[in-house]
């Protein structure tokens, strides 16, 4: 569904990703790992064009066979089909309900029944429904950090994307909230393709099916998670995993 072909990304003349080739497996969790500055977050952000106007992209990112960087590609539809959850929880200053339906309202959806149904469905999928069902009208910013992040996941799910990108979604959260979000993600992979950037190698090994290791803008190794962690093919990967680097 999503493939990257010979992708090079440059920030003001300075290449941060060089010649990346990879195909993200459908309905699996792919973890992108590597040291800071390895280019993994840049790759993630370019997958739904969040780098527009910041970095220049060479090569192809194909979604259902369509290059999403074509000049006349509809960036708004791309972002609704490939949603993103950020590092810091970003609840909008409105009610829980309005947060979840934000993406739908952007498209002009007015059908009350459909909105209600999508709110329940998305909040259930994000494992937040039971905690907030009685206070959907209260401000989202009153939720705890972990709840806010699950709300952001629900908000992304509400527009029915096919792919969910997560940029270190638990690095600002406590361990209990982190494990709740991890459990949520594992449940979600039945219906969605998930790509997650994480600095936490235990997290990558706990939840992902595939792991890609990046170093200095290059994809060093892309393997099923178990294989990459237990029996890495490349010496650089082994060094990173054992803490000799990074």
């Amino acid at each position: 569904m999503l493939e990257v072909e010979n992708l090079t990304i440059t920030y003001s003349e300075h290449p941060v990703l060089k010649g990346i080739e990879m195909a993200f497996p459908d309905h699996q969790i792919t973890a992108l790992i590597g040291a800071s500055g390895s280019g993994k977050s840049t790759l993630l952000r370019s997958l739904n064009r969040m780098n527009d106007g910041i970095a220049s992209v060479d090569g192809h990112i194909n979604f259902h066979g369509v290059d999403i960087n074509q000049p006349n590609a509809n960036v708004y539809r791309i972002r609704q089909a490939i949603g993103m959850v950020f590092q810091q929880p970003t609840p909008f200053p409105m009610s829980i309900y309005e947060n979840v339906v934000y993406g739908l309202r952007l498209r002009g959806e007015k059908n009350r029944q459909l909105l209600d149904q999508r709110v329940e469905e998305s909040l259930r999928q994000a494992a937040l429904w039971n905690e907030v069902k009685d206070r959907l009208k209260s401000p989202a910013q009153a939720l705890s950090g972990g709840q806010q992040q699950r709300l952001c996941i629900a908000r992304t799910l509400a527009t029915k994307p096919e792919i969910i990108l997560l940029d270190e979604p638990t690095s600002a959260l406590d361990p209990i909230s982190t494990s709740q979000i991890e459990a949520t993600l594992v449940d979600l992979k039945q219906n969605y393709t998930i790509i997650i950037v994480t600095h936490n190698m235990q997290q990558a090994s706990r939840i992902s099916d595939w792991t890609a290791y990046f170093e200095q803008g290059q994809l060093i190794e892309f393997q099923p998670t178990e294989k990459l962690f237990l029996n890495p093919k490349e010496q650089q990967t082994a060094d990173y995993l054992s803490g000799k680097f990074g």
């Binding site: 970003t90 909008f92 952007l106």
Partner: protein, 297 residues
């Protein structure tokens, strides 16, 4: 052997510094409090003379529209209405312009333009009001004369001059309010497929609502209290405002009248009562601002 009792309990340089510092700040606060208190007392005392000593009723003062100190008739309603009117008009014209500039500077134009525009706006904020009055006199009044007839002096010219004067203040505060909106919010909105316009109208402006309202109230408070620039272009006739004719605000009557009345006469007391109303209004503006910012937090 060190005498710990004396060392720990005795005087030291730090203690003296602390005590002196606390003394100076305490004294300053006391002085400010005293000053405000004295001004309040003085104004209330002087402002109530008209009602207590000169036998003018408060209702008459507030609701009657005839202001004729020569005949001992003191109805300030026309000035109160004119003051409110020019303030509201100036604020309501300034708001959309200020919002537009704010959106352009923080959301649309490249960051370099902000570096150019912000100092210009701050410069405009610092221009003395007499300069705005002069511009009003030489540019605005003739244009109004051309367009609506009459002498050109009046509430239209006054509103325009006030609009020019408070617009930089409001714009500057709105830019700050927009900048206070977390960049992550904009990114999250874009990540859900929002266009820039949708992000501005649905996220940035609602999130900055408190700041926008505060800016508007602050600008209107400034307009309400402005005397000089208004006095130069409004024509100074203490009658009910009309489109073409001259009018007068509370402040312009105060500045034109203060030098021409004798202390202790009813005509002078009436001016003090006007000043009391001004004070009351700035209190209202202040409370409004507190209310808006409190609600935000």
């Amino acid at each position: 052997m060190k005498n710990w009792e004396k060392y720990l309990m005795g005087p030291s340089k730090e203690r003296t510094q602390e005590r002196v510092g606390r003394g100076i700040t305490g004294l300053s606060i006391l002085m400010i409090g005293l000053l405000v208190g004295i001004i309040l007392l003085f104004l209330v005392g002087k402002g109530s003379q008209l009602f207590l000593k000169d036998g003018v009723s408060f209702q008459e003062f507030i609701f009657k529209t005839v202001w004729a100190p020569g005949n001992e008739v003191y109805g300030a309603a026309s000035m109160i209405i004119t003051s409110l009117l020019v303030t509201m008009v100036a604020g309501l014209i300034a708001l959309p312009f200020a919002l537009a500039v704010g959106v352009a500077v923080t959301e649309i134009l490249p960051p370099i333009t902000k570096k150019i525009i912000q100092p210009i706006i701050e410069l405009l904020v610092g221009i003395p009001s007499v300069v705005y009055g002069l511009i009003g006199l030489t540019v605005v009044v003739p244009i109004v004369r051309q367009l609506v007839g009459g002498t050109g002096f009046g509430i239209i010219a006054a509103s325009v001059v006030l609009f020019l004067m408070i617009m930089p203040t409001i714009t500057s505060m709105i830019i700050d309010a927009f900048q206070a909106v977390d960049q992550d919010q904009r990114r999250a909105s874009a990540g859900l497929g929002a266009t820039r316009w949708q992000t501005i109208t649905r996220i940035v402006i609602p999130a900055a609502k408190g700041g926008i309202l505060t800016a508007l109230i602050f600008g209107m408070a400034r307009a309400f209290g402005e005397a000089l620039a208004v006095q130069m272009v409004i024509g100074n006739a203490a009658i009910m405002p009309s489109i073409q004719g001259s009018a007068a605000t509370i402040t312009s009557v105060l500045t034109t009248g203060m030098g021409n009345t004798i202390l202790g006469t009813p005509a002078n007391d009436a001016l003090w009562s006007l000043a009391l109303i001004l004070l009351g209004m700035s209190l209202v503006f202040n409370l409004l601002m507190h209310f808006v910012t409190r609600k935000e937090a």
